[in-house]
């Protein structure tokens, strides 16, 4: 597909974000929180938990950041977003593929992976039904939330966990493929990736010599 997107990065990204009433650093903090929630799940948590928690924490973080600015939250039909009535902007959170956060590539929201227990259980919940087992919701459902009016632009905070960083962007989708994945973008505001450690490294405590405390009898 021919790319028609405008990509903003670095200082341009900051300017474009400012025109939306947003700043880069707090959005990156939202991404950090989401990542932290993801890695805080233990092997004893159900495998579905971390994806949900990561997404939930991102939504919560986004709301804690934007609601004091006058935005409001909406959860109609479990389509969880924040809405800026003045600017007629909606912001949702989704997982992107590996092209997320890279200017030369076109990211896509993650594909739906097969049926899972969750899909069966919450099939009636538009948004959750688009979860894959350990990912954020894939494509936010534009429909199903009456709060989101047609004259509003829905931006997506796209998050992708790579090995050593979490890449993220705030982007305005242009079109959606037949499989429900967003595959073209009108605008993309690329945020600086959040660095994280890859595989946990082994902690090797350095070999420290013993101290000899000199104690001598007095003559």
């Amino acid at each position: 597909m021919e790319s028609v997107e405008s990509v903003f990065a670095g200082g341009d990204a900051a300017d474009r974000l400012a025109s939306l009433g947003l700043e880069s650093e707090p959005l990156r903090e939202v991404v950090r929180r989401s990542f932290h929630a993801f890695i805080s799940c233990s092997p004893n948590h159900p495998p579905l938990a971390r994806g949900i928690w990561a997404w939930a924490e991102a939504v919560r973080g986004l709301r804690e950041y934007t609601l004091p600015k006058g935005l409001r939250r909406s959860d109609q039909n479990n389509y969880s977003v924040v809405i800026d009535e003045d600017r007629r902007i909606v912001i949702a959170v989704a997982t992107g593929d590996e092209a997320t956060g890279i200017a030369g590539l076109t990211p896509s929201t993650r594909a739906v992976k097969g049926n899972s227990v969750l899909l069966a259980v919450v099939a009636n919940q538009a948004q959750l039904s688009l979860f894959s087992a350990d990912e954020l919701p894939t494509t936010p459902q534009m429909a199903g939330n009456d709060d989101v009016r047609e004259d509003m632009a829905t931006w997506i905070l796209l998050i992708h966990r790579a090995t050593n960083e979490v890449r993220c962007e705030l982007s305005l989708p242009l079109s959606m493929g037949t499989d429900g994945r967003i595959n073209a973008w009108h605008e993309r505001i690329i945020l600086d990736a959040v660095p994280v450690d890859g595989e946990p490294m082994d902690i090797v405590v350095p070999d420290v010599p013993d101290i000899n405390v000199d104690v001598q009898r007095r003559a």
Binding site: S40, I203, P206, D214, V215
Partner: protein
């Protein structure tokens, strides 16, 4: 002994060491407050019967009360960690321990050469002071393997405080030119190590200023944090993102508490405010502030271990020292990390002397 006079200051010390008020003591021995106050001011001496009661109630030997004045640390020269939460009685109990430690230290120093004090005097800038001290002592960026041994090797006399009060963590003081540190050994190893580094901070930064007050405490805490966890190593080793479970693994590098590591990472900007809050809450919820997870073995004194070995060669044990100093043997046990052993009886010593046993030398690591 007949010539010796009852020493009022020693009564005060024994009473405070036992955490008793004058009123409480008066009640125990069945006199009015005025009498106890009079004994302590030296206005009049207790009757022999009363002295026996004092001996019983305060659990100090009779001879203790007839010794010369003791060198007593006063509240204004000692720096107490967590002073705010401490009662005056708890503080006095700890200081009483300090006075007995000075007595014991003189006894030991008459018989042994201990490392000479070599602590520099540093500016009251904790981060810089910690870095400077590491440089002066040639510690590089390595973790501090054993803070008690480090302190001892630099001439600090380290004693254990066995005080059953969570409020008393540690205290330190300069006595003439000798630095003293007292550590409550009922705390976790990590907590105690931090206390040791905290007191070291007071000794190098607050020798000539006031070692007390909130500023001094903050400075000593910041010093301990920076000294135990040097900035560049934490930046190099600590993950930018972490969970409490990972921190428990990571803390082994510096042998610090999980809470202290999280605090340091936040101070160095590795953790955001939000992340630190989340981690700190989880640390509390899991009860790690009261019970350290994956705790290391406690540190003990090398000085007392070596002194103990040497004294054993002579058949001298803690009871003998207690007898010479006229203090209860438990007091000695509590001060020396329980490291001094029981000596030989006089008969055994006599036999040993006749056999002309050649003293063996042990190297204690």
């Amino acid at each position: 002994m007949a010539e010796a006079q009852f020493n009022p200051s020693r009564l005060t010390l024994a009473r405070k060491r036992r955490g008793m008020t004058m009123t409480a003591l008066a009640k125990e021995i069945g006199v009015d407050l005025r009498s106890v106050s009079g004994y302590e001011k030296g206005e009049f001496r207790p009757e022999p019967d009363r002295v026996e009661q004092l001996v019983k109630i305060l659990a100090f030997p009779r001879e203790f009360f007839y010794g010369p004045d003791l060198d007593e640390p006063s509240p204004d020269i000692a720096s107490f960690r967590a002073l705010k939460r401490m009662t005056a009685a708890q503080r006095d109990t700890a200081l009483g321990s300090g006075a007995l430690a000075l007595l014991l230290n003189s006894w030991i120093e008459r018989r042994f050469n201990l490392p000479a004090p070599s602590l520099p005097n540093l500016e009251r800038d904790p981060e810089a002071a910690a870095e400077q001290l590491r440089r002066v002592w040639g510690l590089g960026e390595l973790p501090i393997k054993n803070i008690v041994h480090l302190l001892e090797s630099k001439g600090v006399r380290v004693f254990s405080l066995s005080i059953d009060a969570v409020e008393v963590d540690a205290f330190s003081m300069w006595r003439q030119d000798t630095p003293f540190v007292f550590l409550n050994t009922t705390k976790s190893a990590e907590h105690s190590r931090f206390d040791g580094a905290h007191e070291l901070g007071h000794l190098v930064m607050h020798r000539h200023g006031a070692p007390q007050g909130q500023d001094a405490e903050r400075e000593a805490n910041a010093f301990a944090s920076a000294f135990l966890m040097p900035r560049s190593t934490v930046l190099a080793v600590a993950p930018r993102f972490t969970t409490v479970d990972r921190l428990i693994e990571l803390k082994k590098y510096w042998n610090v508490s999980v809470a202290a590591l999280a605090y340091r990472m936040h101070t160095l900007g590795i953790m955001s405010d939000w992340q630190y809050r989340t981690v700190a809450i989880e640390i509390s919820q899991r009860g790690y502030r009261k019970s350290e997870p994956a705790s290391a073995p406690r540190e003990t004194s090398q000085v007392f271990a070596k002194v103990s070995v040497a004294l054993r060669e002579d058949g001298v044990g803690k009871e003998n020292i207690a007898d010479e100093l006229n203090i209860p043997v438990q007091e000695i046990e509590q001060l020396v990390f329980g490291l001094l052993t029981t000596g030989l009886t006089t008969d055994q010593r006599h036999v040993r002397a006749n056999r002309r046993v050649k003293p063996k030398l042990y190297v204690v690591k």
